[in-house]
Subunit: 350 residues, 2 copies
Amino acid sequence: MTISIKEVAALAGVSTGTVSNVFNGKASVDRKLAGRVREAARVLGYEPNRAAAQLRGRPARVVAALVPDLNNPFFTNLLASLEACVRERGFDLIVASSNGSPREERERLGALLAWQPAGLIVVPCDDEFESRALPARRRVPFVVVDRVPGNFRGDAVSVDNADAGRLAAEHLTGLGHGEILVAASTLGLQNIRERCDGIAQVFGGLGLPAPPVIEVGLSFEQATERIGTFLAGGGHPTAFLALTTFATLGILTALREWNRSIPGDVSVVGFDDYSWMQAVSPPLTSIRQPVEAIGREAWERLRARIEGSGQPPSRIRLQCDLMERASTAPPNGPRRMPADAGGTAGEPAG
Amino acid sequence: MTISIKEVAALAGVSTGTVSNVFNGKASVDRKLAGRVREAARVLGYEPNRAAAQLRGRPARVVAALVPDLNNPFFTNLLASLEACVRERGFDLIVASSNGSPREERERLGALLAWQPAGLIVVPCDDEFESRALPARRRVPFVVVDRVPGNFRGDAVSVDNADAGRLAAEHLTGLGHGEILVAASTLGLQNIRERCDGIAQVFGGLGLPAPPVIEVGLSFEQATERIGTFLAGGGHPTAFLALTTFATLGILTALREWNRSIPGDVSVVGFDDYSWMQAVSPPLTSIRQPVEAIGREAWERLRARIEGSGQPPSRIRLQCDLMERASTAPPNGPRRMPADAGGTAGEPAG
DNA sequence: GTGAAAGCGCTAACAA
DNA sequence: TTGTTAGCGCTTTCAC
């Protein structure tokens, strides 16, 4: 048998209403009575039931989060940030993954919404985000994060993707690289296209054509394979620019397999900034997304809506930073020593 | 106004009970009526309210998960596995992080339990896991994962830690390493101590003393600093053995800063197995934990309990694998070529 | 300051 | 097969 407010009331010799008041600090309760109630609750091991509380018109204290992939550290770091924010305000977080599938996205969304959460944070699995009809119809406040469809007009927070692309391109062109290869996950995503635009802008400003872009997919294995294929095709850029973490990983792996030294033979700019990027040799120059801030901003917006803010929906774009480390250098630069040039570039290892 | 079963019933011209039956497939409902109900629900945009369903004695369809750190990929991979299992059975997952603090652990546990979940999966923040009194008292089925206190007698799933240590030690001693340094997070955790025991066993069997162990903490920064200090103290092992991912990262970073080449100057065995470990040069030899299987096993146990299994509590230990890659080699072995000895870190043959 | 009682959305028992 | 009704645990008037 589960212990309810009723048992506590009985033991303390008060009414259930009083017990409720004690636990919610609403109406003022006599100190003595309150003490008795708390004691009774302790003895009985009573814990309030949130489902019941919520049912009775109490503003819900849950927020739901839906991301495309729980194995992707960018999304889980986002969740970590969200979880901290949300807890701080006494909310609980319920999470789900759409596994990159629109169908699953819709399903999960339904399940999530069935908890009548106070709000919803969602990283859509694609630019359609058709399911947005759902939260909208249910009038649940929601904010879209990271993958913001171009035509979306609600609250949204993302990174300034074009600027991120610009940052990387400027760094590389500044070093003297003219022939770079951009490794995108998929051009089907608005944020990725924006990053490409930023890169093209920089090249355009220099009177150069936009660099080629290849799509390497959304997993490590696929990315490695695609970059390998590119290398096998005789591609010889002086620098690689990754637009996602998996692209970064794929570039690194393929380059190693082909015995290309970094930055001797080729420079590499990675995307995102994880500990391992500082641990490896050479440490990776990369574009850092302010994940924690993204989570905080998303929560701030959602919180405002939950509290009934009448502000018009707004879109914020956070700045990325270029973490300059040792994987980028001028093409054919000082790091290219005889020992490295030693011939085997062109044959895959093993 | 939120749309309830009542509005649907009214529009469809049936009773609420019938609507409930339609959505739960319990009693058989006339096909025509069912169609009308569904149509009404669609028109109204009705979604069932799980909180209410749960309140009314319906077996809860949520499971709660509590981990020490949402920024640690081991735990988030575990959650990813759990989420997939749980969803498959129509359960929702609510997550929380204890941030490694017993106080927060207790708090979160209370919040989680307040949803009256069908079950609970917890990775304790320490070996005390004093809070276990909570789920036990509330009679909520729960299973402890990964950090299983030595004296814990309930359902638990972890890795065979001693064996993991043995695997790594055998690999290293097999290569001819006698002087190794073990980098543990903290000896305060049972699982870490077990890994050390496994290592000591192998050395003991060879008539060698157990290798020294240093505690490098639970973060990347701390680990890097501790290993750096060790190196600064003149330590010269021929191999490093990491017992956690952060220890791995710390070893790699410090070694790079000190210009020690891998595996030329020193071999490294990492812990856990992430994509980046294959991407870096040299690819890292490491101990892989079967994270996904851990999640699945945990869920299987929990599910059995939820369904009322009377089995005695059981503890399962999953096997780890050694992923043999290029960061380990015999000490002063064939890989130590003149070119490498020159001091530039991390540019092995590949 | 406290208690009594209504009712949140739903399901389950029972009646029709 | 369908409708009616009594609660699940809680919050919230509204008397007192």
